[in-house]
Amino acid sequence: MPLRAKVATSVSKTAAALSRAAGRGDGSVIGGWIGLKIDPELLNHLAGGRAIALISGTNGKTTTTRLATAALEVMGRVATNSFGANMPTGHTSALAKAGSTPFAVLEVDEHYLARVIDATEPRVVALLNLSRDQLDRAKEVSMMAQMWRDALANHPDVRVVANADDPMVVWAAGDSAHVTWFSAGQRWHDDSFVCPQSGHPIERANGDWWCVGCPLRRPQAQWRVEDEGVVDPRGDWHLVKLQLPGTVNLGNAATALAVAAEFGVRPIEALPRLSNVASVAGRYAQVDRDGRNVRLLLAKNPASWLEAFDMAEQAPTLLSVNARDPDGLDTSWLYDVDFSPLRDRPVLITGDRAYDLAVRLEVNAVPFRHVRTFDEAIQAVPSGRLEVIANYTAFQDIRAELDRVL
């Protein structure tokens, strides 16, 4: 590593430590930011000598990164950005902090994928899905798919692990020389009615999809979810026991196994490690309080709300919605989500934008009760499970409230 990079790495670590000491987060962003100021090539230097997997997509990337890291630890030490700091500053900090490791698994914000591929020259890139997220500032979904496609075209040696069920992902990955397809299902179709290649409608039936006007269609998947397990490319079925809920996470596990396989890890070696993962950056965490077992589910865009409804048990459910900067200021997406799966359970609502939620639930004929605080919600439900589904800053608010009391 050149001297400049060494200095930058050391300063980056120090800055991260200072930031942590000052109580300003985990320091994973500020450290990387200072390091990159001293040496703009720092990420390239830190990536050198490691076998790297990048995980990107609109949803599931934090969880899949966590699971793929666990799987890859079969082979040796793995650097990862486990706090969800998924831009180059976060990657820089994570690699600097980890010191030298043979492997790294990095979650990458979908907007930055091209840059991070250039800087880290990964062995594997996993493409999970693309859907609308933060409407008042995100780029159009098809533009994002185009950016991914261009990025992969510049790196023909990269091995791609991609979701066969998402037409946008298939189009983005389709020209790559080495693609392994996984099928984890796609609950959200609203952003891929129109073929990204030809503009014709996309038809769907029985889990298959195809463009009516061009050859783009669902490829055969080598990895797929079946019952409570995953089928590998040889056709062997493996039971997957996860602490994380829902078929969505079964899909994330299939993806993690496919990524790990690119490094030579066999499912049978990886599976025990996947079942040790209990929560991911606070998500799915269960907290006992006043006889209630509170489980936290993060839902940050329409597709992930549908997934959260799938994960949540048939139990009293608190919904919390904010519209602060990190959430996007616009709540229109509420009408892209069908809330009717919540009809036959007690529903509570809270958050900065509870009134938007109230009007939305009325339209879906879901009865609800408005509470002003998390504490009020706890008192309003009987002992037992309370599912909490919240968008980004609402989730952070509730975590902070739980931490204060514990």
Binding site: G199, L329, S332
Partner: protein, 237 residues
């Protein structure tokens, strides 16, 4: 379509123009009709299907430049929407859908012909209008203030054949002065996505136009009123 007494709502081209929860307007109209005991049928007409001309209310939503230009081309070629408007159908046109009701609009840097059903034309503004929008609706419509969230790069210039829907008190709308347009039974607005969620009185106006009633029985709007109060206050001004 079905019997005479059923209210028919058409959502125009959801495959092209549905970026921001636009489905909400259809759901809200259907619900408010049902609460008054009015039977409703709602149809989602895709851009590869012929546009029926016999429905009572037409909804068209927001979208990106490419789909907007494509939707305008197909609606002009189809002619069904023009026939419906000439027969007195009510329309709510939002954002990109609002722009394409005019004589012309800009998409991907080129001027595109619109439907010419509203006397207005649109071009690009120097800045994007993003944020809370609020305005006093034309008093002849007898409605409470408009509240919405806007997110558009366009500016719209009204001709003498339309009236502004509202005078802007916060946000940009057409040009910082006026917001939206109305003519006959057509309403256009930059209040994007599920505009009717915050403006149930506009939903009821469309229903009254469609069934030819001067008034509708009241419904419980406690939560909608709270939402309106909060958003009108948040817009300031």
């Amino acid at each position: 379509m079905s019997s005479e007494s059923t209210l028919r709502i058409v959502w125009i081209y959801p495959d092209l123009l549905s970026t921001y929860g636009d489905r909400g307007n259809m759901l809200i109209l259907a619900r408010r009709a049902a609460m008054r005991g009015i039977p409703v049928e709602a149809y989602e007409i895709r851009s590869d299907q012929p546009m029926p001309s016999s429905a009572d209310i037409y909804l068209i939503g927001g979208g990106e430049d490419g789909p907007q230009a494509l939707a305008a081309q197909r609606l002009i070629a189809d002619g069904g929407l023009h026939r419906a408007v000439n027969q007195g159908a009510a329309v709510l046109a939002i954002c990109a859908g609002y722009q394409l009701f005019g004589h012309s609009f800009f998409a991907k840097g080129t001027k595109c012909p619109g439907l010419g059903l509203l006397d207005l034309h649109s071009d690009r503004g120097e800045t994007r209008a993003v944020g809370e929008l609020r305005g006093d609706i034309d008093p002849r419509l007898g409605l409470p203030p408009l509240t919405g969230f806007e997110n558009h790069g366009g500016r719209t210039h009204l001709g003498p054949g339309v009236s502004p829907l509202a005078r802007v008190t916060a946000g940009i709308g057409n040009d910082s002065q006026t917001e939206g347009a109305w003519h006959g039974k057509i309403l256009g607005s930059y209040s994007h996505g599920p505009a009717l969620a915050r403006n149930p009185a506009i939903a009821d106006l469309l229903l009254r136009w469609a069934i030819g009633a001067d008034s509708l029985s009241p419904v419980d709007d406690t939560w909608a009123d709270r939402l309106r109060g909060e958003r009108l206050a948040a817009a300031g001004a």
